[in-house]
Symmetry: none
Subunit: 192 residues, 2 copies
């Protein structure tokens, strides 16, 4: 390599910008992060400028100083949005306090399976009293961001992320973003 790793063959993902963004977001200087990570500040500088592609073990040391796992770090490169085109559906729609449901298959009372296309307006919430029913349910987030609480676990899911749990565990959905969140979910047996 001469000077810039990109001068060769545009090799390597843009690790540098991501690391810099994360570091700056946490208010750490290159030297401070280097100290916590047990590397030199030069290493941080070179990585951030994409002048070297760190070994996995080096990158792990750096991330330990943040701290952040390798999985979390690389998860940030996931597709920004799902490319989905919707045409006007024939699905019946039920709206209630910022949450709209459109359901596949007309009569849910005679079905084993309930499939919904859910839309949460910004700030919409299934409510402070947690939901709980005799089912199992799961879903995939299409767009937006939603905070899912299941028992004592809580995470914010984005496009492409999913969930699956026993519906008897108290749960709650809340759109914590500033844009609507769309989910395709399934529940068996149906929850009315």
């Amino acid at each position: 390599m001469l000077n810039d790793i990109k001068s060769q063959r545009s090799v390597g993902p843009d690790i540098g910008s991501r690391l810099r963004a994360i570091r700056e977001q946490r208010g750490l200087s290159q030297r401070e992060l280097a100290r916590r990570a047990g590397v030199t500040n030069a290493t941080i500088s070179l990585i951030e400028k994409n002048k070297s592609s760190p070994s996995v073990s080096s990158l792990k040391k750096v991330l330990d100083g943040i701290p952040m796992t390798l999985a979390e770090f690389f998860a940030l490169e996931l597709p920004p949005e799902e490319q989905i085109f919707f045409r006007a559906g024939e699905l019946p729609e039920f709206t209630e306090e910022g949450v709209s449901f459109r359901q596949l298959g007309g009569d849910q009372s005679r079905q084993k399976l309930q499939i919904l296309r859910e839309r949460y307006a910004p700030g919409a919430d299934t409510g402070e009293t947690m939901l709980s029913h005799e089912s199992e349910e799961g879903g995939v987030v299409l767009s937006g961001r939603i905070e899912v609480t299941v028992g004592d676990q809580q995470r914010v899911l984005g496009a492409g992320d999913g969930y699956y749990f026993d519906s008897r565990i108290p749960h709650r959905f809340r759109n914590v973003g500033d844009e609507p969140c769309e989910i395709i979910s399934a529940c068996a047996p149906p929850y009315l």
Copy 2:
């Protein structure tokens, strides 16, 4: 480094085992993967035996030959107990003749509900012999176009369209477009 990266300071996560497991699962030899990735077989061997910690750019090259993203690779951390949340790249994937399935919720044999993200390559087909099983199933098309045959009914669905039927009725899915088709589907009880 002297001989073994672990002789130094037990540095680095166990990248080697993970890479080896993935490679063997796909039925690739070290040399074949090396050829696809544009590296030498020695590199693969050393990485798998944790005798070298690959640079991120090298690891990316290797994963491109599988193919798999860095995020997916590092997201492959085994569920400690019951897994509720799934990151986008984290879902286990099964591919067969142009159709790939990624499933929410690890163990389908103990679940009431099976939720899949399905991807049909252009021309992919569930087969001339119609499917039939004791379930009910439905889904929503995210992108692409797919011809769905259920009993004596047949339709081509596009993005946003959906379906729901009794799985005992013989059915078949076929990508009649020239681009991949993605579907989120659900089935209860699971069809193995």
